[in-house]
């Protein structure tokens, strides 16, 4: 595991190991506070993503390390026309590990082919975002005690939502997992997720246009944002944006131990009133994301040092 570009590069055993490290960090933060003393993380963000960048930076600081980098392409050499490959080679001379976000799909993979230090994909366009999935997995593990025998509802933009696709791929490796796919017709899950992931493994799934109808059976409800930037037509966006809004009323029929997740930022798909519900886990999910990034940085640096 030199670099991590796609969540599926991690075996379930490796995910278990990262979860176990993250849990230990949560319980014993002082034990880890000097683990990365003298190490530098380069955060190369070719497009702005405050949340992910801050999570990586907080993770490295809490490990006792330092951070260098840039937060948008205009302040990097990319604005002068430097290739991703050259940037990766150059930054390898300064940093011990790289976290890269890039608007173009495959850019972090190109970086990993050219860097001499580990590269973590911090999101490449609509393609992969493995550390978000790691955050999701730790949240599920913390709230549910494991990954097996869960009914996972995914709601909203299932067509363009990369976090949904990655989570389905990652969760499909555990037994007894059932998916409930809740979306309007226009934003249904792409066919290839069914033909390439769900059907070959014989994983049970149902598609529903109604959130209320399936709510009582869910153990996890993963809400997503309908992203305006994916639409060419403003009217379509406005109409679909308001299709599913999770409210305290809708939650009345949900299980008492439902775990409500959201990769954030939210627009209006979860009413603010839900925040006070003990089943709302989306802010804890942000915190878990930092712990999983800490575990991942540790693991990659440890393997790079071998």
């Amino acid at each position: 595991m030199k670099s991590i570009i796609d969540i599926m590069e991690l075996s379930t055993a490796e995910i278990d190991e990262l979860v176990s490290t993250a849990l230990d960090i949560i319980d014993n933060p002082a034990k880890y506070s000097e683990k990365c003393r003298g190490k530098k993380l380069a955060t190369l963000f070719f497009e702005p993503s405050t949340r992910t960048r801050l999570s990586f930076e907080a993770a490295m600081y809490e490990l006792g390390g330092n951070v260098i980098g840039f937060s948008e392409a205009s302040s990097s050499s990319a604005s002068k026309g430097e290739s991703v490959a050259d940037t990766a080679r150059v930054v390898s001379c300064y940093a011990d590990i790289i976290a890269m976000r890039h608007p173009k799909e495959g850019a972090p993979y190109v970086a990993s082919l050219n860097a001499t230090v580990p590269v973590i994909n911090a999101g490449d366009g609509g393609h992969n975002h493995p550390t978000q999935t790691l955050a999701d997995l730790l949240t599920i593990h913390k709230e549910k005690g494991g990954f097996e025998n869960l009914t996972v509802g995914l709601c909203g933009d299932l067509k363009f939502g990369r976090t949904v696709h990655s989570l389905i791929a990652a969760m499909s490796r555990y037994s007894g997992v059932k998916f409930v796919l809740i979306s309007p017709d226009e934003l249904k899950i792409p066919e290839y997720i069914k033909t390439d992931i769900l059907d070959p493994k014989g994983i049970e799934y149902v598609e529903s246009a109604s959130l209320e109808a399936v709510m009582p059976e869910l153990d996890i409800l993963y809400m997503t944002r309908v992203q305006g930037e994916r639409f060419f037509n403003e009217a379509d966006y406005i109409r679909l944006r308001d299709t599913y809004i999770l409210s305290t009323e809708k939650l009345a029929v949900a299980k008492k131990d439902l775990c409500i997740m959201h990769p954030l930022p939210r627009v209006n798909e979860i009413s603010v009133g839900v925040d006070a519900d003990p089943r709302a886990c989306y802010f804890k999910q942000v915190l878990y994301g930092k712990y999983m990034r800490m575990a991942l940085i540790l693991k990659l640096l440890e393997e790079a040092g071998k």
């Binding site: 173009k104 609509g126 393609h127």
Partner: protein
């Protein structure tokens, strides 16, 4: 016209009927000075109809490209009038510079010097995906 016996050269046999011109163009045989004969719609016990290309010179052939375009082709190498080698092609695991990634969000769309590389992900359905963005290759080859 009589198509003579090859002394040194290559016979591409079992080409899917109707594809010999594609192969001719992709291997850039038109740009070479050697003699080339193409037989279209020849009778074949195995295939019903097939195309054949005879190249009357020993040239380098990109078997990766050929395997991607028409994996059923048999490549026969002729030396001194004798068949010295027969290669059955198969789908290559990777092809470089044969297919162009058409995903406008792929890193190859902005970094011109990156090789367009595709990996075989489903041999049964001949699915190749871009190694960078994982988009499926479209059926046409460019």
């Amino acid at each position: 016209m009589i198509i003579g016996q090859i002394k040194d050269g290559i016979v591409l046999d079992h080409i899917t009927a109707g594809r010999c011109m594609d192969i001719y163009n992709i291997l850039k045989l038109g740009e070479m000075s050697c003699t080339v004969a193409m037989i279209k719609n020849a009778d074949s016990v195995k295939m019903g109809k097939k195309d054949i290309i005879k190249i009357f010179e020993s040239i380098e052939i990109d078997l990766e490209v050929l395997g991607y375009i028409d994996p059923g082709i048999t490549v026969n190498i002729i030396r001194d009038g004798e068949l010295v080698k027969r290669k059955k092609l198969s789908l290559p695991e990777e092809v470089t510079g044969v297919i162009k990634c058409k995903n406008p969000r792929c890193i190859t769309s902005v970094e011109q010097e990156l090789p367009h590389k595709f990996r075989l992900t489903d041999a049964e359905n001949k699915v190749y995906r871009c190694i960078y963005c994982e988009s499926k290759a479209s059926s046409s080859h460019e």
